[in-house]
Amino acid sequence: MTADLGTQLPLWSAIPFAGILLSIALFPLLAPQFWHHHYPKISLVWGLLLTIPFLWVYRGEAMHEILHVALADYLPFLILLGTLFTIGGGIYVRGSLRGTPEVNTAILAVGTFLASWIGTTGAAMVLIRPLLRANAHRRSKTHTVVFFMFLVANIGGSLTPLGDPPLFLGFLRGVPFFWTFHLATEMLFVSALLLASYFAVDSLLWRREEPQVRSWVPETRERLGLEGAHNVLFLLGVLVAVIVSGVWHPGEVTVLGVHIGIQNLVRDAVMVALLLGSWRSTPHAVHEKNGYTWGPIREVAILFAAIFATIIPVLAMLRAGEAGAMAGLIRAVQTPAQFFWATGVLSSFLDNAPTYLTFLTTALGRFHPGMPEREAIQHLIAESPNYLAAISTGAVFMGANTYLGNAPNFMVKSIAEESGVEMPSFFGYILRYVVPFLLPVFLLVAWVFF
């Protein structure tokens, strides 16, 4: 993408991007059934609102930008999420567990660790049902699902690009696979504090449960085990494919005028093969027990087509630095702590993947305006890694701040509600859980690390 385009585009060209993000944020809260039925049309409208005038005015250049974002970002993103979701959906944890504070804390800790390797969505899907089963007999269980959302559906995903979509987008744009291990300190700090808080709260509530609840034992004792365990091998395959695509550079090919690394095509082909392999080799009953359908992949395919199309002018304006129409944002966000909060607060209410991309590009526009993106990212990592750490942790951690911040949040909420766990309202979630538990931890993170 040339810096020129970024200096020419007007600020209002960001309206369709804001529109699709706000639609994703507001419709599920205000009109869930309407949104469930009509989101493809609404996404199409926002997408066309950008692409038609964009192509009309900038013609060849606009076409190149759209093809570039489709082939270099959108398709790999969709393939990774679809693959992890399908493989995760093929693993079912069976067994009888008793939802004591120790067992619950252990499930949360395991999920936090797993999230970085099978994605927050995959880890949430694999573990939410065993957690709900273990706590089915308890009266107090809402807090357990909320902390599961904090840790497994969000914070746990910060260690690798497989963990959370924002980090995979960073990887696609040139952040090395193993760079995210640098976030381990922040991740362990936040996870330890939250696990300790959870254990304290759950112990208190456990003591207040009726005696028959505390002495409850499952009627039939089923040994803990995995169905579809062979999918772990498919997961390893994904891991290898992604890592290899980051270190092996056999050259480029040109597809529809877009230069694409051969390693990326190989990675995506391997992942599609792993997806199909997992799907065909996993018994249907396992998918059914996890509630797996193609629905979520369809949602990601449709909504992210609109997001990736409409984000084009925003990224171009940001990359142009202070010469672009979004110079105000670049000037407003200066320090790593400001990047942490700005990325985090917006990730709380808008999807965190495009928010991450927006602030990564803001940092690049601020430090290296006009420089090719991959080169600029290497400079950013070498010279100001704290900025990338702030953006990454802000996007991943604060996706937990509301139901809107990260895709698995709504999934966990729905599964819990359908299993009979009453979840707090949108504002109840923030006031009763985020403000007392997450906010103090994030203030500490900003103070200690940024």
Binding site: I24, P28, Q33, H36, T293, G295, P296, A407, P408, S414
Partner: protein, 172 residues
């Protein structure tokens, strides 16, 4: 039989030990005008004042064993409620609570319905919708102990939200 609202001063343990079995604790109900401090103290089991409802048979006994700071006769009460659940079993539980074995003189449901959306079956990431929804709302009006019993019954259920119980009382 007359029912009374008593404000009792004393520790939680004394209350646990000395209250008659059929007295209804204020903490079992959704009462109006509970402050945030009250709720924190309740959570920590550290309240010093407790609201209790008891029949006239038991009032004298309570007055003898505990320190009663105020005593009022409950004439009648009312509260609104709204329920929304996403699981047929929970929907049935709420339906039963609202329609089965109602205490004498209690009238309630204004609206009750079930919706099924088969296309919303399975998990969703960005377009969350439930394939089953139970909804009801209404106002419950009646005299004690029925109104207290209904409030306690609904307060024990999830997915149903009661408005604070408004009581009409007169000085005893």
């Amino acid at each position: 039989m007359r029912w009374y609202e008593l404000i009792i001063d004393g520790p939680e343990d004394a209350l646990e030990a000395l209250l008659p079995a059929d007295a209804i604790r204020g903490s079992e109900l959704r009462l109006a005008s509970e402050s945030f401090t009250d709720r924190v103290l309740e959570f920590l089991h550290a309240r010093t004042h407790h609201v209790v409802f008891a029949s006239e048979d038991h009032v004298r006994e309570i007055e003898r064993d505990l320190r009663v700071e105020s005593l009022r006769e409950v004439v009648e009460g009312r509260f609104g409620f709204k329920a929304e659940a996403y699981n047929p079993e929970i929907g049935a539980k709420i339906h039963d609570a609202l329609n089965t074995d109602l205490p004498a003189g209690i009238m309630c449901v204004d609206l009750e319905k079930e919706e099924r959306h088969p296309d919303a079956k399975g998990v969703e990431l960005f377009t969350p919708a439930h394939d089953y929804i139970y909804k009801s709302r209404g106002t419950i009006v009646g005299t004690p102990p029925g109104i207290l019993e209904m409030n306690r019954r609904l307060h024990r259920l999830d997915f149903i939200h009661e408005e604070p119980l408004e009581l009409v009382c007169r000085e005893a």
